[in-house]
């Protein structure tokens, strides 16, 4: 095994081009487990900790450009207002020790269906900035996950940053596990209201071969909110609408039975989380509306 230590992003790209089998390591919370357990013996291990700008973030007008190695701890501390869904998801990652090292770039690189960041990214709307010596491109998050632990990166590409849409409405994240810490999600659900576009977006984790959106459920809820004039009149979502939304979210799952839970349980739990997160976000939206109107 060779240990590569690029001191800059350009050096990292050059090294990855020269050694496409090189495994990038940043927080190490996935890669080191595989090496410690002899599940992986990469020819080259490439340390990205020396590439300082990977741990930086920038809040723009519409999006946050989040460096691939920004630790979850920083997201929780500094980006709760801009990225509430991702901040909530970050807080459910493992333990303080892991959150100090792990970041979204690693979650995307590993592309496990159980990665905690994925539902939040899908719900918020995001693009992955991938780069190689050939140039840089933005991969829409919906097109990024291509299979179980597979993603759209080319062998010579590295993840530099994620561009995540800043929240323009309430967001929620919910995760099922046996305790609050150190849990790989049995299943997870992210929901974001986008009042400006009058749409909702969802993200489902650990209940299909890849993280997925519940497209049918989003379409149904968008139409129901629109027909009822709910974005304007701020009424509560009718129980029948919430129930149907939950069913459609459950139907968007394609889960398996495994040690953490059965497929049936996952479908059921995703439905429950969909209904609850809808209630939480919609109540919060109505609250903001009332405050805005009162102030006007």
């Amino acid at each position: 095994m060779d240990f590569l230590r690029p001191a800059s992003w350009e050096e990292a790209l050059a090294a990855k081009a020269e050694h496409p089998t090189a495994v990038p390591i940043a927080g190490g919370t996935d890669v080191m487990v595989e090496i410690n357990f002899d599940h992986r013996r990469p020819e080259y291990l490439m340390d990205l900790n020396r590439v300082a700008d990977l741990t930086e973030w920038e809040v723009g007008e519409d999006t946050v450009r989040l460096g691939a190695s920004v630790p979850y701890t920083r997201i929780m501390e500094h980006l709760r207002a801009e990225l509430p869904g991702l901040a909530l998801a970050s807080h459910t990652v493992a333990s303080p020790q892991i959150r100090n090292r792990g970041g979204v770039g690693g979650n995307l690189g590993t592309a496990s269906p159980a990665g905690d960041a994925h539902p939040a990214l899908l719900a918020a709307g995001a693009e992955v900035e991938a780069a190689s010596v050939r140039g840089s491109r933005r991969i829409p998050i919906d097109a990024f996950y291509t299979g179980v632990k597979r993603n759209a990166l080319a062998p010579d590409e590295l993840i530099r940053a994620v561009h995540i849409r800043k929240a323009d409405g309430p967001q929620q994240f919910s995760k099922v596990g046996t305790r609050n810490a150190m849990v790989i999600a049995v299943c997870a659900f992210g929901l974001a209201l986008h009042p400006a576009a009058r749409t909702v977006r969802t993200g489902i984790g650990s209940a299909a071969p890849t993280p997925v959106r519940a497209a049918g459920a989003e379409e149904f809820l968008n139409a129901a909110l629109d027909e009822g004039g709910l974005w304007d009149n701020g009424r509560t979502v009718p129980p029948s609408v919430a129930e149907r939304f939950a069913e459609l979210c459950a139907a968007a799952c394609d889960p398996i039975d495994d040690v953490r839970g059965t497929a049936d349980y996952r479908r059921h739990a995703v439905g429950v989380m969909a209904r609850r997160t809808l209630a939480w976000t919609w109540e919060s939206y109505r609250g903001t509306r009332r405050t805005t109107e009162g102030a006007a």
Binding site: F3, M32, F37, S95, P96, Q97, R101
Partner: protein, 215 residues
């Protein structure tokens, strides 16, 4: 490969390090610092918890090469680390400037480390001053003394990781709620299930720390 790093304030060098080796392995097997424990090797148990450039991390998940040029604090250096921190805070409060840079516990002293003061805990409370130290006998960090006094150690395997994690909590959170303590220690498993005594110990350390810093 060769890895150079600072451990407990002292420059260290390890040779013939395998590229896939963890920082934990380097500390235990190459530098003779077995305080950080090796259990799950997957970040689940927290028994290998150390500080890496100040951040609380699992040493089993840091590749040795990633620690090149970095500063590591292990449980062996915790007493010294805590003493320097409290001295820096006192000096800082007095002079309004940073304390001189740490030089750390000498490795041989750390190796002879023993838990003195178990008979007379009162004598070892508080910083005590460096002058009261005898050669090769390091004083305990406040969290270490509190773990002893509260009976928070059973088999002891999880204790080093818990000490480093609890010390980091009290560094940032001098007056933690029970929820804060539980969250801060959520990455450390005690399979003797001695969690209540551990909670007591951290509360005790917090109280002593606040009494000490009160003007």
């Amino acid at each position: 490969m060769r890895v150079r790093l600072t451990v407990n304030g002292r420059p260290q060098e390890a040779d013939d390090v395998w590229e896939g080796e963890s920082l934990l392995y380097v500390l235990r097997e190459r530098l003779g610092l077995p305080g950080s424990k090796n259990a799950c090797e997957q970040g689940e148990c927290g028994s290998c918890t150390v500080r890496l450039d100040g951040a609380l991390v699992c040493a089993c998940l840091v590749a040795a090469g990633q620690a090149e040029g970095r500063e590591v604090v292990t449980v062996e250096g915790l007493a010294d680390f805590a003493r320097r921190r409290s001295r820096a805070a006192r000096d800082g409060a007095r002079d309004g400037e940073e304390a001189p840079h740490a030089t750390g516990t000498p490795l041989d002293a750390a190796r002879r480390w023993s838990a003195h003061g178990t008979q007379e805990p009162d004598e070892t409370q508080g910083p005590g001053g460096a002058g009261s130290r005898t050669a090769g006998e390091a004083e305990l960090a406040p969290v270490q003394q509190a773990f002893i006094d509260a009976g928070a150690v059973q088999c002891g395997f999880c204790t080093p990781g818990l000490l480093v994690a609890a010390d980091e909590l009290l560094e940032h959170h001098p007056d933690p709620s029970d929820a804060d303590i539980r969250e801060a220690l959520s990455g450390n498993l005690c399979r003797c299930t001695g969690y209540e005594k551990i909670m007591d110990a951290v509360r005790l350390a917090a109280v002593r720390q606040s009494e000490e810093t009160r003007p």
